[in-house]
Amino acid sequence: MSNDNGYLVEVKDLKEHFPVRTGFFEKTMLKAVDGVSFQIKPGETLGLVGESGCGKTTVGRTLLHLYKPTGGQILFEGEEVTENNINEYRKKMQMVFQDPYSSLNPRMIVEDIIGEPLDVHKLYSSKGERREKILGLMETVGLNAEHATRYAHEFSGGQRQRIGIARALAVNPKFIVCDEPVSALDVSIQAQVINMFEDLQKKLGMAYLFIAHDLLIVKHISDRIAVMYLGRIVEIGDADEVYHSPKHPYTVSLLSAVPIPDPKTAKERQRIILSGDVPSPMNLPSGCAFRTRCPYATEKCAAECPSLTDRGDGHMVACWNK
């Protein structure tokens, strides 16, 4: 099963460009994801952070072939996932969605929502087995058996997210893309759901790609963190490394924006406020995409795009400034 380098998921130079109509006959490419590479080991959690519109969600969806990749490779257990064999991998890779309100069909009862993957892949031999499996899944995510015949609109946001997680778990996946699974929930519920993600990982040994824009949550749950800016990864490394000694100026400014619960420390901290807006992904600046807002930008940044280079211990940074 295992391949030479031991990675579960390997993404090489993934690109996803969307054509956008700008005039009657003109089309511009929106480069949502432009050359992203990362690896995830079995049982590991990679956190993916970045501000809205930087392509985090697109990375997750392209990974599962919900969008057809424009370029690049996706390897699962060393084998390439393509349009043709994707159905095989639908049982191994699953997704938990961001919005617990729109990710569950309002006309289906919980039992059928969770049972749909079982139906599609025909993973049971009798009605009784199906029901047993569904009830088992519901117990795993902390739902009562009596909830099985209810509709999604009868549940709270946290419960709905649990239903979504149970649906993803139904096929026993080895890898789950969590697309901002807690950003639509209350803070108190966020903690519950995050802890459940951790417990499930301990119990079932899945790997996560955990997409979020809240750095604290990502730091809490991730083994490694990748920071995205405008369709590219600018920094990737160990969670503690990235959090405590960020190298890329964008990561530094992101971290300085994380709220600190202690007002004294918060006052002493220096906040780095970036000037200007995020450039449009349809019209990226030359060279490094961050140079228009970077306080350390030089002429080299405008001329050439930096690639990820190792700064020791697998901490990769895409920046010309050492």
């Binding site: 969806r61 599962l64 919900l66 994707i86 159905n87 639908r90 049982k91 699953q94 997704m95 969605f97 961001q98 919005d99 729109s102 990710s103 569950l104 069909n105 309002p106 006309r107 289906m108 749909e116 993957p117 599609v120 892949h121 015949t149 209810r150 509709y151 009868e154 979504g164 649906r167 096929v171």
Partner: protein, 357 residues
């Protein structure tokens, strides 16, 4: 109770504390009610509950059921047919022309005087000595049948076309919608007239069959409905599907590995069913109205089969002498169309999720 009351702390004067004596302890049953969630309601149950609260919609359902019962039961009770001249004791009664409601002709009066029994002419007779009540009943039958059949036709074609176009999206959608635009621009009445002229030459029906009784005009009307009137439904369904497609549960179904057919059937169509029900309910009266109009201008059902429109048309000739003959079919059309429209409105209020919040 009194023992428990004594346990409660006394409210000190001037304090802002709520007077605890005013509270009552919850009974065991009330506590149990807290544990149980409210009864699960399905989309259909919820909608029906709201529909039952709407007096106009319920009234129109009652009216429609009464009309339905009338057109089913009346032909079994009343001994006259819609096409036959009234006979008295086996003899054709040529004198029973243009009788007023509940009156008898000379021949019939003579027969009654001799001790025979004659079923009353509830709405009188027409100028061909036929029982007018039966003609109105059969006219209603034809109109309702045409309305329902045409709406089902529109429903099937429109939903199929619209859901394919909306789900496929992109170029397919663009092409399919341009076809719809072209059809939308055709004048439908002109098409009915042209088709009925052509079809009456081309098609011959087996004598005695239902289609032959309705005549080529009706068949061409159905064909026109099937060819032209579905575009409104197709547009509506496509629009719904375009918006439903963006929901994450469709993406979730894709990530599970569900095929397109399953996604349309299980996830998309059930979510636009309310729009489909409502517009079908509103399509029926419009089809009935179109049929009545065409029959009125002489392009409807073939004589002697009556329809409400053709009855109104023939009543126009004797309007000065027998104005009530126009009133009966006209009232019937109004009742049916009004009832269906009010029912459609009621369904929309009850099932449209946008009005819910």
């Amino acid at each position: 109770m009194s023992v428990e009351e004594n346990k409660m702390p006394k409210r000190s004067p001037f304090s802002a504390q709520i007077d605890l004596a005013k509270f009552e302890l919850a009974t065991e049953e009330e506590k149990r009610q807290q544990d149980v969630m409210s009864e699960s309601t399905t989309f259909l149950k919820d909608g029906m509950r709201r529909l039952r609260k709407n007096p106009l919609a319920m009234g129109s359902i009652v009216v429609l059921v009464l009309i339905l019962l009338l057109i089913i039961i009346a032909p079994r009770v009343v001994p006259y047919t819609y096409s036959g001249i009234i006979t008295v004791d086996g003899v054709r009664d040529k004198s029973a022309k243009n009788l007023a409601p509940f009156t008898y002709s000379k021949l019939e009066q003579k027969y009654i005087d001799e001790g025979g029994e004659v079923f009353p002419h509830i709405l009188g007779t027409d100028e061909m000595c036929r029982d007018y009540f039966m003609r109105v009943i059969y006219g209603t039958r034809v109109s309702l049948f045409v309305g329902l059949f045409a709406s089902v036709l529109v429903l099937i074609i429109g939903v199929l076309y619209g859901s394919i176009s909306g789900y496929a999206g992109g170029r397919v959608d663009m092409f399919m919608m341009r076809v719809v635009d072209i059809i939308y621009s055709l004048p439908d009445l002109l098409m009915v007239i042209l088709l009925s002229v052509v079809l009456s030459q081309v098609i011959t029906f087996q004598p005695g069959s239902l289609m032959a009784k309705l005549g080529s005009n009706m068949v061409s009307l159905f064909i026109v409905f099937g060819l032209l009137y579905w575009v409104g439904m197709a547009r509506l369904v496509r629009g719904q599907i375009l918006s439903i497609k963006e929901n994450e549960y469709v993406l979730a179904a894709q990530s599970i590995g569900a095929k397109s057919g399953r996604i349309i059937k299980r996830h998309i169509l059930p979510n636009c069913i309310s729009v489909i029900i409502i517009s079908t309910a509103l399509q029926i009266p419009s089809a009935i109205f179109t049929e009545s109009f065409l029959s009125f201008v002489g392009l409807g059902v073939q004589a002697p089969m009556p329809s409400l429109g053709s009855l109104a048309n023939s009543a126009r000739d004797g309007l000065q002498s027998y104005p009530y003959k126009l009133v009966f079919p006209a009232v019937m059309i109004c009742l049916i169309v009004l009832a269906f429209n009010l029912l459609g409105d009621g369904l929309r209020d009850a099932f449209d999720p946008k009005l819910k919040d």
